[in-house]
Amino acid sequence: MIRALTLCLLAAPAMADEIWVTNEKDDTISVIDTETLEVIRTIPTGERPRGITFSHDFSRVYICASDSDTVQVMDPATGEVLHDLPSGEDPEQFVLHPDDRHLWIANEDDAVTTVVDVDTRKVVAQINVGIEPEGMGVSRDGSIVVTTSETTNMAHWIDTATHQIIANTLVDSRPRHAEFTDTELWVSSEVGGTVTVFDIATKAEKAKIRFEIPGVNKDLIQPVGFEFTPDHSTAFVALGPSNHVAVVNMQTYQVETYILVGRRVWHLAFNRDHSQLFTTNGVSGDVTVIDVASRTALKSIKVGRFPWGAAFRPTE
């Protein structure tokens, strides 16, 4: 009896949460245990996995398999691919609408944004946007989706009810990522080296965040992914080949500090209580764990080749 209990505990250790990382050049996902900070599972995916996000109840994980031209739907418990969604060509990034039902997908090679109903598995709409759409953000009330296009250098504001573009706003060169707060839209520009903050109501530029790291050449400071703390006081911005993450005060738009991480940092994900931040470092093929309170790097975790996307999964 006691023996059986022990065995059971060994087989299913204390339920730690997980960070799921897509490895662009290994066609795998590395699953990191947030307690032990070790890779506990490696799951095969379609070709060139990039964007990754979970359904609201975490029963499904959606993966952009860019070179397979599909979005895969996986059971996170088993790692089994349940089915593919019709995603349009070369899906790179996507965002799940607050209705938990519609995936808004950027089709990088096709200059369109595709809306897919994950229940009926049908394409609901395709919207023509600029060349190389990538960044996808949805407003908190779900009324607006923004697609950023890397070569057109615009944020395209799309009304989610009508699927019509309602505004196009220019940003700096090569926009990569978009996120909404209650009142603001943030867009990072990789080559422009900036983050532009828009006021949602007026769609006018409200602030421009620039970065400067002593000893690092300016043109290597390339903002890509970023994440907000839940209270929207602080943003963590991945700065690509400068190998740093910037910590930005969201009230003053000033950079408070820079944290050295691995090489070519792409995207980030918090753990459950937001005490730790995980960054994907494409060139060094690892994930850096940042202690959010002290703003220091704690550990590097080796993952697959060219880690790109990251998403949090609670296991209870």
Binding site: E132, E150, T152, N153, N168, D172, R174, V191, D219
Partner: protein
């Protein structure tokens, strides 16, 4: 009569009829009679350069359609014996934004036309140093890298690898001699030794005899790390590698090659550009295609940001120190204020992979690391870009 001297084709780009701001770009080309080369394995594409301009206009028009800007691209192709300045005068009646694909003398013959003084011209074909130095013109920007930028990139790689002793084989054509001179200059700049030089003098068909001829030809070279080849028309260089007396890598015009663009560039979103180009042109994208692409993208970026189409406004915007555009090479591209040269990374590649994108880490510059490649301000005799004040 005049019409027979050149051909004109206007490309059907999706310029909306309602465009508030028309942007008329012309691709003006002087055709060349290409010399015969030993191998026909890699013919020069008919649409070299032009295809890059076409794909850039398509890309840029997407942005334009959101802003009410309508881009058009007209191609004027003049036969080798044609009257190039006359064709240019005709073009200048309708277009003030012109990409020139020609030799240095022909480029200057257009830049010096009275009608061209308030136009904005882009050299998309010539790497000649003179055009960035004593023969620079205020109305002429360059998106193709100068030869010196390419050879500097190569020498940075050799220095980084500590392959410091080289020998040089130079072909007989003017382009070979010019490239050899650029190699010598860059070797001096980066501390690389050229221990010996030989001229390529074979007039036989080497395809059947390389195993016999090339070892003998290279046997009397002093010991070296790398064989440099100056063969810019792609004539004999391909027969040197793996046939030399000593087992040594080849670099320069063949082997490890410095170039503005190559199909082996994958990072920095380059795959998307490669895919769009291949779908359009049905062939891989080359350096000259990239130069024309970059010129149109620069025009597009300036029009997008200034909402203007006049050359003076666009030129001022492009030469502003704050200007930066994406070029799929990992660093923002800009124009050098002292000679109008596009500042850009140089890809050092072999046939199958990228060796590195120069500037190579560790080669520092007080202004911008990319200025370690090509003519830096103190090295250029250009004065046309200096403020009159």
């Amino acid at each position: 009569m005049f019409r027979r001297l050149f051909t004109v084709a206007t490309l059907a780009v999706a310029a909306p009829a309602w465009a508030d701001l028309p942007v008329a770009i012309t691709y003006l080309r002087l055709e060349v009679d290409r010399p015969p080369v030993l191998s026909n394995l890699d013919p020069v594409p008919e649409d070299l350069g032009l295809a890059g301009a076409e794909i850039a206009v398509k890309d840029t028009q997407t942005t334009g359609s959101f802003l009410g800007h309508g881009y058009s691209l007209t191609v004027v192709s003049v036969p080798p014996e044609g009257d190039f300045p006359a064709a240019a005068r005709e073009v200048l009646k309708t277009s003030r934004l012109i990409l020139i694909d020609a030799d240095p003398a022909a480029i200057l013959s257009v830049a010096d036309l009275p009608q061209a003084q308030d136009a904005l011209l882009f050299n998309v074909s010539s790497g000649a140093e003179s055009l960035r130095s004593a023969d620079c013109r205020a109305n002429l920007l360059h998106t193709i890298p100068e030869d010196a930028a390419r050879t500097d990139a190569l020498m940075q790689v050799l220095q980084r690898k500590q392959w410091q002793t080289t020998v040089l084989i130079t072909g007989p054509k003017p382009a070979d001699l010019a490239f050899a001179e650029a190699l010598r200059r860059s070797a001096t700049k980066f501390g690389i030794t050229i221990a010996a030089e030989k001229e390529w003098t074979f007039d036989t068909d080497l395809r059947d005899s390389t195993m016999d001829e090339v070892p003998r030809f290279t046997q009397d070279f002093p010991d070296h790390d790398v064989i440099l080849v100056a063969d810019e028309t792609d004539d004999f260089g391909r027969y040197v590698e793996h046939n030399s007396w000593l087992p040594r890598p080849v670099a320069g015009s063949d082997g490890m090659v410095p170039t503005a663009w190559s199909p082996v560039i994958e990072s920095w979103g380059a795959v998307q550009l490669q895919n769009r180009f291949e779908a359009h042109a049905h062939r891989p994208m080359r350096g000259q295609d990239y130069a024309a692409w970059a010129a149109v993208r620069a025009i597009g970026e300036a029009v997008t940001r200034t909402n203007a189409n006049d050359p003076a406004t666009l030129r001022a915007f492009l030469l502003d120190p704050a200007f930066q555009m994406d070029g799929f090479k990992g660093r923002g591209l800009s124009f050098r204020a002292w000679n109008g040269q596009l500042r850009q990374p140089i890809a050092v590649v072999n046939a199958r992979a990228l060796v590195t994108l120069a500037p190579v880490e560790g080669f520092l510059h007080q202004r911008n690391e990319m200025d370690t490649l090509g003519l830096d301000a103190p090295e250029s005799a250009c004065t046309a870009f200096k403020d009159p004040a």
